[in-house]
Amino acid sequence: MRFKLFRLQILFCVAFFISCTDNLNFDNINLDLEPIVSLPIVYFELNQNNFLDENDQEISAVSDITVFRILETTILKENLVELKIDFEVENRFNRMFTVKIFFLDNNDNITHTVDEFTIEAGDLNYTATRTILIESTPEFLNSTRFRTDVILLPASTNLNPAIEKVFKFRSSGTYYLRF
């Protein structure tokens, strides 16, 4: 009885004390979470009448603005490292356009100006990409508004209100996060 009990004791001690967990390391648990999230931003379609006033005189530029609260979320504010904005334009006008994009804060101060781009007349597949690095542009995180100015560049021929033209603009943002 004593001998059998002793054997069992040894078995249990061995089970505990030689149980090998030396091959585990819990010190270097360093998970870098770096998701990349793509979301749509702004899209619109303009026609010739958007650039003509009630007297059919050309308007050189149109502008629209929206509140842009996505950067107010803690997740983005604290973890965004880069924002890549993609643009796609289909220009069926026989005129050139320049597009200017601004990010602004609550007081309408410009926090970031996106490098403008010019679309040739009749360019149906224009694409452009602009990158904002947060490290070099920290004030960008204060942006709460997004404004787009579409400028009709001068030309020898004016727009004809009876001739249908369309300018399609699409944009998306790719957010690079690091937690």
């Binding site: 249990f12 090998c20 585990l24 819990f26 929206t66 944009s171």
Partner: protein, 464 residues
């Protein structure tokens, strides 16, 4: 004396994964009555040593091992994490269960009837691994344009509860013993989410460069015990009210949401050598009506971004419009509706054939029983989980080394592995019964590579 102190020390040690079911139909330890209320008992009374009569801790997981993530090598942790994420699927899960038997006792009413009662606290958590959503969070959606991510993979259940129980085991005749146990559940905390549906998809070449679509979303999470409905918001107080955390275990004795349940079981001898035992455990429910917070979200939504209209005469608050549109299409709700949750029912069954040398044992001074020194058999164990039942199949060999020392050797096939070898023992040292279970013996020298390993001890005073 040193031997008993050593066992005491060993009993204080928690294990990675203790499977009480290994001791099902094994020996005559009082804890068998919790696994099978119809277990045969041949002692006059028993008294569990509080807290130490049965202490177990379980942490099992499928789809990966500790070594997959935490191996001591020079590989980048992210690389290891990505490999695990790649290998798991939505049927994999993490299961944590701990049971502390606070009070346990029983006594014999007559030759045929044994009554037992007690109180134990249980923490039970099972969470399935939502591979889709995990990949979405880890990688983002940019690498997966046009791939739908399913919300239905999100399923989990967590319970902290106390169980007050009383049962009776009744010997009907020489062949049949039946039993039942009545339980009062007292839930201190419950969190559950299951049967969710919906997909999140980013697609290209639509109205905008990227379209984000939320399709057929129908998700709900039910909780009780997280928020104390009686707490009054004090806007002038900056103190965090942490009384609720203290109440977590104090509510486990008839203080939380209550429920009822029962266990049934039997032992049947086809012959003196062939025995069948079976039980159904935790047929019961808990009605959650206090400290409820449920959250639901339903609907469909397509996000193409903001559509500028360039109408300076009628400027639009686009962002507000977007928010209103989202809220109208995907309404979320926070309710305090009562709900019922079912306990995870367990089914045990074992068939055992005894042979070899016979021995006799006097039981509670009035009768004696004949036992065989050897037995072989198999047992099955099923537990009903949120997504699907979990099964395990165990074949075993039992050997009585003496009248007071019984051993059991097992081979188990379950979700974790098809080669789990275990060992159980029951010792009677005077009036002290000591039982121990060690499962997955082969993994003892390499716990890191195991999905499960169990070590479970208990002390009881058993009076014949």
């Amino acid at each position: 004396m040193k031997k008993y102190i050593l066992f005491l020390i060993l009993s204080l040690t928690t294990s990675l994964n203790a499977q009480q079911k290994l001791s099902f139909s094994f020996g005559e330890i009082p804890q068998n009555l919790l696994l099978n209320p119809g277990a045969e008992t041949n002692f006059r009374s028993h008294y569990g040593i509080p807290v130490f009569s049965n202490f177990s801790f379980t942490a099992g997981f499928t789809g990966f091992t500790l070594a997959d993530l935490f191996s001591n090598d020079s590989r980048d942790f992210n690389l290891k994490f990505e490999e695990v994420l790649n290998n798991i699927d939505s049927d994999d899960y993490i299961n944590i269960n701990t049971v502390i038997e606070v009070l346990s006792a029983g006594f014999r009413i007559d030759d045929k009837t044994y009554v037992s009662f007690g109180f134990y606290e249980e923490l039970d958590i099972i969470t399935y691994l939502p591979k889709d959503i995990s990949e979405l969070v880890y990688y983002g959606n940019e690498p997966f344009i046009n791939r739908p991510f399913s919300v239905s993979e999100i399923a989990m259940k967590a319970d902290v509860l106390g169980v007050l129980h009383a049962g009776v085991s009744r010997k009907v005749d020489e062949k049949l013993t039946i039993g039942g146990r009545f339980k009062i559940y007292s839930s201190s905390l419950n969190i559950e989410t299951n049967n969710n549906s919906g997909t999140i998809t980013a697609t290209s070449n639509n109205t905008n460069i990227i379209r984000q679509t939320l399709d057929n979303l129908d998700a709900e999470i039910r909780t009780s015990g997280i928020i104390d409905s009686n707490d009054v918001d004090d806007e002038f107080s900056n103190d965090v009210d942490d009384e609720s955390s203290n109440d977590l275990f104090s509510n486990t004795l008839l203080g939380g949401n209550l429920g009822l349940g029962f266990d049934v079981g039997l032992t049947y001898h086809f012959s003196p050598q062939l025995e069948f035992t079976g039980s159904i455990i935790d047929i019961g429910f808990i009605k959650h009506s206090k400290n409820i917070r449920n959250f639901t979200a339903k609907g469909n939504y397509i996000l193409d971004g903001i559509n500028f209209e360039y109408n300076s005469d009628d400027p639009i608050d686009y962002w507000q419009q977007l928010e209103n549109d989202f809220k109208a299409n995907v309404p979320t709700e926070e309710t305090e509706n009562a709900y019922t949750s079912w306990r995870p029912m367990k089914i045990n069954a074992a068939l055992k054939y005894s042979f070899g040398e016979k021995r006799s044992k006097f039981c509670y001074t009035k009768t004696h029983k004949q036992y065989y020194y050897n037995s072989i058999g198999f047992q099955v164990h099923t537990i009903m989980r949120p997504l699907k039942p979990q099964f395990s199949f165990t074949s075993f060999y039992e050997k009585s080394l003496s009248k007071k020392i019984h051993t059991k050797f097992t081979h188990t096939i379950n979700d974790y592995s098809s080669a789990i070898f275990g060992f159980a023992t029951s010792l009677q040292v005077g009036k002290l019964n000591i039982f121990g279970v060690l499962d997955n013996i082969l993994a003892v020298t390499d716990v890191a590579s195991a999905n499960n390993i169990s070590l479970n001890f208990g002390f009881n005073i058993v009076i014949d």
